[in-house]
């Protein structure tokens, strides 16, 4: 994975939306569509069966979408947005994954985050970690002064 100087866009902080970043944006978009479509169908047809699970799916879809937008926009604002989303996502997948193990009856129907995202090849667990690593890797070299 050594690819220094693959991109000319180095300082100050590499672009978040080029190279591996574009792959991340693609995967985030795909998951926004997957979770969003799933939540839409579930909420429209049988919300009362598992309101918690379906609401969570919808929330996850929004977070994936906002993360994709944050990475695509880049800059300090986009970076902060993406960081927040990745952090919430990681917390969400860990919390929901653990909760669905301990209280399976609270999750009668699966969400993207159930059992740490097993239904989606654990990508929901890996994705926020990759996102955070990417944000760190592309971060500006020195802490920016307030300017």
């Amino acid at each position: 994975m050594a690819e220094p100087a693959a991109h000319p866009d180095t300082a100050p902080g590499r672009a978040t939306n080029a190279g591996p970043g574009r792959l991340l944006i693609g995967v985030y978009s795909l998951f926004a569509v997957a979770a969003g479509a799933r939540a839409t169908v579930q909420i429209a047809t049988r919300f009362d069966d598992a309101p918690v699970a379906y609401t969570l799916s919808a929330v996850a879809a929004v977070i994936y979408l906002v993360a994709a937008v944050g990475l695509a926009r880049g800059g300090a604002g986009g970076r902060r947005l993406a960081f927040t989303c990745c952090a919430v996502e990681l917390a969400g997948v860990l919390a929901v994954g653990t909760a669905s193990l301990i209280w399976p009856e609270a999750f009668p129907d699966a969400t993207v985050w159930s059992l740490y995202g097993v239904g989606y090849g654990f990508v929901p667990l890996v994705l926020p970690v990759l996102g955070l690593l990417w944000l760190r890797r592309t971060a500006p070299p020195t802490p920016p002064t307030s300017a």
Binding site: G19, R22, L23, G26, V27, L30, A34
Partner: protein
């Protein structure tokens, strides 16, 4: 047996896997995807369009997917995936463009399997 579960679907799945492997090798060689990769994606997409046409004929003929709304949703996603992958790969003319197209080709078989499950 429904068309989505038929031999054409199997052919498309293996074609997509071949495309994914090809893009993976291209990425390992540190190259962006070129015209041949896009042509390969077009061939896989043509197979998908043919599969869709057969399924639509079947539905007009009176058959119904077990979960129609979800089936149509997956069908649209499946058809849009490779074109979206090619567009994003063109925006990224590096090895990562190859990873993007290969990734899309790798997700495609999963979507086809889901289509088959949802059709019932």
């Amino acid at each position: 047996m429904a068309r989505v579960n038929g031999p054409l679907a199997t052919v498309v799945i293996f074609a997509a896997l071949a495309l994914a492997a090809w893009c993976g090798i291209t990425a390992l060689l540190n190259r962006p995807p070129g015209r041949p990769h896009e042509a390969g994606a077009a061939v896989v997409e043509l197979g998908l369009v043919a599969l869709t046409a057969l399924t639509v004929v079947e539905i007009i003929g009176g058959e119904r997917p077990a979960e129609p709304a979800i089936f149509v949703g997956y069908l649209i996603t499946t058809l849009a995936l490779l074109p979206a992958g090619v567009i994003m790969a063109r925006m990224e003319p590096t090895r990562w463009g190859s990873v993007i197209l290969g990734g899309a080709a790798l997700v495609l078989p999963v979507l086809i399997l889901r289509l088959q499950q949802v059709y019932g």
